[in-house]
């Protein structure tokens, strides 16, 4: 049997998943990474993306919109918002993209740095492409 580690996925409003898993693919801010048991301790921020959890009972996927992951003895992902992939419909995603776009507009209006906000929009749309939900 493959080695397992403790994994918790929590959002501010509730805890989505807690259990032992064999590996988790994390959409880190500097690129995707896969956390496996006995990984070196890391703290990383997340970009909007897909969290792929490989457990004993198969693969579960979640869409997260940001937050951070703490990889120590176990893995805790603290997501700003996290939804099971099946719950992400065109409607939900459009809402998220619109939100990101609105944030971009605000930043533009205030002559702030648009890079981060623009990346957020691009990331959100990329999430859509990856899970086969298209947003214009």
């Amino acid at each position: 049997m493959a080695e397992t580690m403790q994994f918790d996925l929590v959002s501010p409003e509730r805890s989505l998943m807690s259990g032992s898993v064999t590996s988790v693919q994390i959409p880190g801010a500097d690129g995707d990474m896969t956390a496996m048991p006995n990984h070196a301790p890391v703290i990383t921020t997340l970009r909007p993306g897909i969290l792929k959890v490989e457990g004993e009972s198969g693969t579960t996927e979640y869409v997260v919109t940001g937050g951070f992951a703490e990889l120590g003895e176990g893995l805790s992902v603290l997501a700003e918002r996290a939804l099971p992939k099946a719950d992400v419909t065109t409607e939900v995603l459009t809402g998220l993209v619109d939100e990101a776009k609105a944030a971009l507009e605000t930043v533009k209006a205030n002559n702030g740095a648009v890079d981060d906000a623009a990346k957020l929009v691009a990331d959100m749309i990329a999430v859509g492409n990856e899970i086969g939900v298209s947003v214009s």
Binding site: V42, I43, T44, L78
Partner: protein, 291 residues
């Protein structure tokens, strides 16, 4: 002697009041359970968050490049008091206790020569403080449309606070809310959120050394604003549970008082009725005797 009919109407009116308070108590009990659940669900996130942030803050906090949200602006001249209360009354001392704590703090700061700005969340707190410190108000967040507190509500408040901070409107921010202990006891609490105030992590040498991706400072800059939102969120949840708890015990009291009052009035009613009957009998008897 009180009129029999008046007494009867009073008893009826107290009875219907009792029905209302009883219903409110039951509604509050149901809502309390939901609010407690919500607070419970949010706890793991808040705990982890604070642990990570605390560890990060401890390792970066000493350096000069630490973000202002953590190290402060270097002055404590202007204070922002975020007073979080309910949108509704009829919940015992809940709103007034929070308002009282905020008033005491505001008076203290003003006496010390500081500038005080007040941001109110929830209508009742604003009404309670308006008379004394109305000219210190800088804003109000309306929560009357919010049924169940969501994280996005806290983000809204946090955004408001952070924008003011970035604009240099204040140096220190404190939130006022009520901590839920149990149904009969809620403790009004003041908590400083900017600059961030963490319990120092235990220095037992067993702390894990983390790699940071991107670097520590970037993570900290990303996390601190979220930390403000998280703290406000947990305060709002505590407040929600406290409000329902306070309302439940207040309504329980009211129901009991109404019951006592009904008993008293009923006795008075019966006595008066008896007196009327006795009177009539005396009249009849003395009338018969006179013949």
């Amino acid at each position: 002697m009180p009129n029999l009919k008046d007494l009867k109407t009073r008893i009826e009116s107290v009875k219907s009041t009792r029905k209302i308070t009883k219903a409110m108590q039951m509604v509050a009990a149901a809502k309390l359970r939901r609010a407690q659940d919500a607070a419970e669900q949010a706890r793991p996130y808040t705990e982890r968050f604070n642990a990570v942030l605390g560890a990060l803050a401890a390792s970066v906090g000493g350096s000069d490049s630490a973000p202002k949200l953590l190290s402060g602006t270097g002055s404590d001249q202007t204070h922002l008091l975020v007073v979080m209360t309910a949108e509704r009354g009829l919940c015992g001392g809940f709103n007034s206790n929070i308002a009282k704590l905020a008033r005491i703090k505001a008076a203290e700061l003003i006496a010390a020569g500081k500038t005080v700005k007040i941001l109110t969340v929830g209508k009742k707190g604003r009404d309670a403080i308006k008379r004394d410190f109305g000219d210190h108000f800088v804003g109000h967040v309306d929560m009357s449309e919010v049924k169940n507190v969501a994280y996005s509500d806290a983000q809204g408040v946090a955004k408001d606070v952070l924008e003011r901070f970035d604009a240099g409107e204040f140096d220190v921010a404190t939130i006022f809310y009520s901590k839920f202990v149990n149904v009969v006891s809620q403790i009004p609490t003041a908590q400083q959120i900017i600059p961030a105030d963490f319990d120092a992590p235990e220095e037992d040498g067993a702390t894990t050394l983390y790699d940071y991706e991107p670097d520590e400072e970037a993570i900290l800059a990303d996390l601190l604003p979220r930390g403000v939102a998280t703290q406000i969120f947990s305060a709002l949840l505590e407040n929600g549970a406290s409000e329902q708890g306070a309302r439940m015990s207040a309504m329980d009291n009211a129901t009991r008082n109404a019951g006592d009052m009904i008993d008293r009035l009923t006795i008075e009613f019966n006595r008066s009725r008896q007196a009327v009957i006795t009177n009539e009998l005396i009249e009849i008897i003395s009338g018969a005797e006179a013949l």
